[in-house]
């Protein structure tokens, strides 16, 4: 029996959101010879939208159940993220708002 061929109850290949979430946000960060700051990439505010949504909007959206559960290991990380990235998130939230406005104008045009 091949243990790697476990039954997968969900849909087939991972969708783009799952892949981007991992290749942009996870994995080890190693400085290569070419310096590219993914935070400076406008398109990647797609990625930052995820963060902005999680930190700024999660409570508003009612997604905060883990906050009340101190045993959940990611709580501290989330706090760290919120604090460490505070300035960035503020800057990027403004950027996202601007992009959304622009997208809205394009969409309605």
């Amino acid at each position: 029996m091949n243990e790697r061929r476990a039954p997968v109850p969900s849909e087939g290949p991972a969708d783009l959101a799952d892949i981007l979430e991992r290749v942009l946000d996870k994995g080890i960060v190693i400085a290569g010879d070419i310096r590219v700051d993914l935070f400076d990439i406008e398109l990647l505010t797609i990625r930052l939208r995820l963060i902005v949504v999680s930190v700024d909007k999660a409570k508003e959206m009612g997604i905060d159940w883990w906050e009340s559960d101190p045993s959940l290991s990611s709580h501290a990380r989330r706090e760290e993220l919120a604090e460490g990235a505070g300035a960035d998130v503020g800057r990027l939230a403004a950027r996202v708002a601007e992009l959304e406005k622009r997208a809205g104008q394009e969409g309605s045009g």
């Binding site: 243990e3 039954p7 969900s10 290749v23 080890i28 010879d33 070419i34 990439i41 959940l72």
Partner: protein
């Protein structure tokens, strides 16, 4: 000097040096339709492939990364190589997208500088894979015992402003109760799966516009699971997925992934 023919090295992952792994990756197509080869240094090797320098220098990357089609192609190629490596190597450290070196010398310098740290991370992840589980609340479930907004025998047309407000308040209450129930179910699913995993990470909820998924993403988690526990884990997810519609939820499983969410070598260990 002809810059259009210059090649840089796009790095995908760090693995323990292995002829078998290097050989298996020879048939895989990487970023920019390029081949994948191994750059070795002591006990480690980086899976990397040549890419056109003009597209992968600072300016080229900055421009291309603004192009969603390019980003998607590159992200999928990146994951394809890492997935192929994870299928043959006992332990894989995925690198973040767009890690580019000038040449093999640069790769070896990096491997030398971070040798101990990378080896320790590979040891920690040995024989483990990542599974992704997402739970969406579809807004159709109703908490047990919490009936829908109480219906009074008020003719709709004659409903007074006070009736309207009362009905709105009841609806809001029901929605709050529903959301609480959904959160409880999500928490229960996470607790069940955590018991089968070595480590877990909770990720931010996905942007529905990007994921295209209907409903409220109430759980987006990654579980680091021993390979031999994989069938047990996926069976557990299947059982939860089967039960979820009764609570107005949907459970999706992705994986097995290389341990992207657990590869951070700088993070302090969270495992108990």
């Amino acid at each position: 000097m002809n810059p259009t023919h210059t090649r840089y090295l796009y790095a995908y992952a760090v693995v323990r040096a292995s002829d078998a792994v290097a050989g298996a990756l020879e048939t895989v197509t990487g970023v920019a339709d390029g081949p994948v080869r191994a750059v070795r240094h002591r006990e480690l090797m980086v899976l990397a492939g040549p890419v056109p320098a003009t597209d992968h220098d600072e300016q080229g990357l900055a421009e291309h990364l603004e192009d969603l089609d390019w980003l998607e192609r590159t992200a999928r190629a990146h994951q394809r190589v890492i997935g192929a490596a994870a299928a043959v190597a006992p332990s894989v450290l995925p690198l973040r997208l767009a890690t580019v070196f000038h040449d093999e010398e640069g790769v070896r310098t990096m491997l030398g500088a971070r040798h101990e740290q990378l080896l320790a991370a590979l040891d920690r992840l040995d024989g483990r894979t990542e599974w992704g589980v997402k739970v969406h609340a579809l807004g159709t479930g109703r908490p047990p015992g919490a009936a829908a907004a109480p219906r009074e025998d008020t003719p709709r047309a004659a409903a007074s402003g006070r009736d309207y407000l009362r009905r709105r308040a009841a609806e809001r209450h029901a929605a709050r109760e529903g959301a609480r129930h959904e959160d409880d179910v999500a928490r229960g699913i996470h607790t069940t799966l955590t018991a089968l995993a070595q480590e877990t990470r909770l990720h931010p909820p996905q942007n529905p516009r990007l994921s295209g998924q209907a409903g409220r993403n109430v759980l987006n988690a990654a579980y680091l699971v021993r390979r031999e526990d994989g069938p047990r884990f996926t069976s557990a997810v299947a059982r939860l997925a089967e039960r979820a519609p009764r609570d107005g939820m949907r459970v999706d499983l992705t994986g097995p992934w290389a341990p992207y969410s657990f590869a951070g070598t700088d993070a302090s260990p969270e495992s108990p």
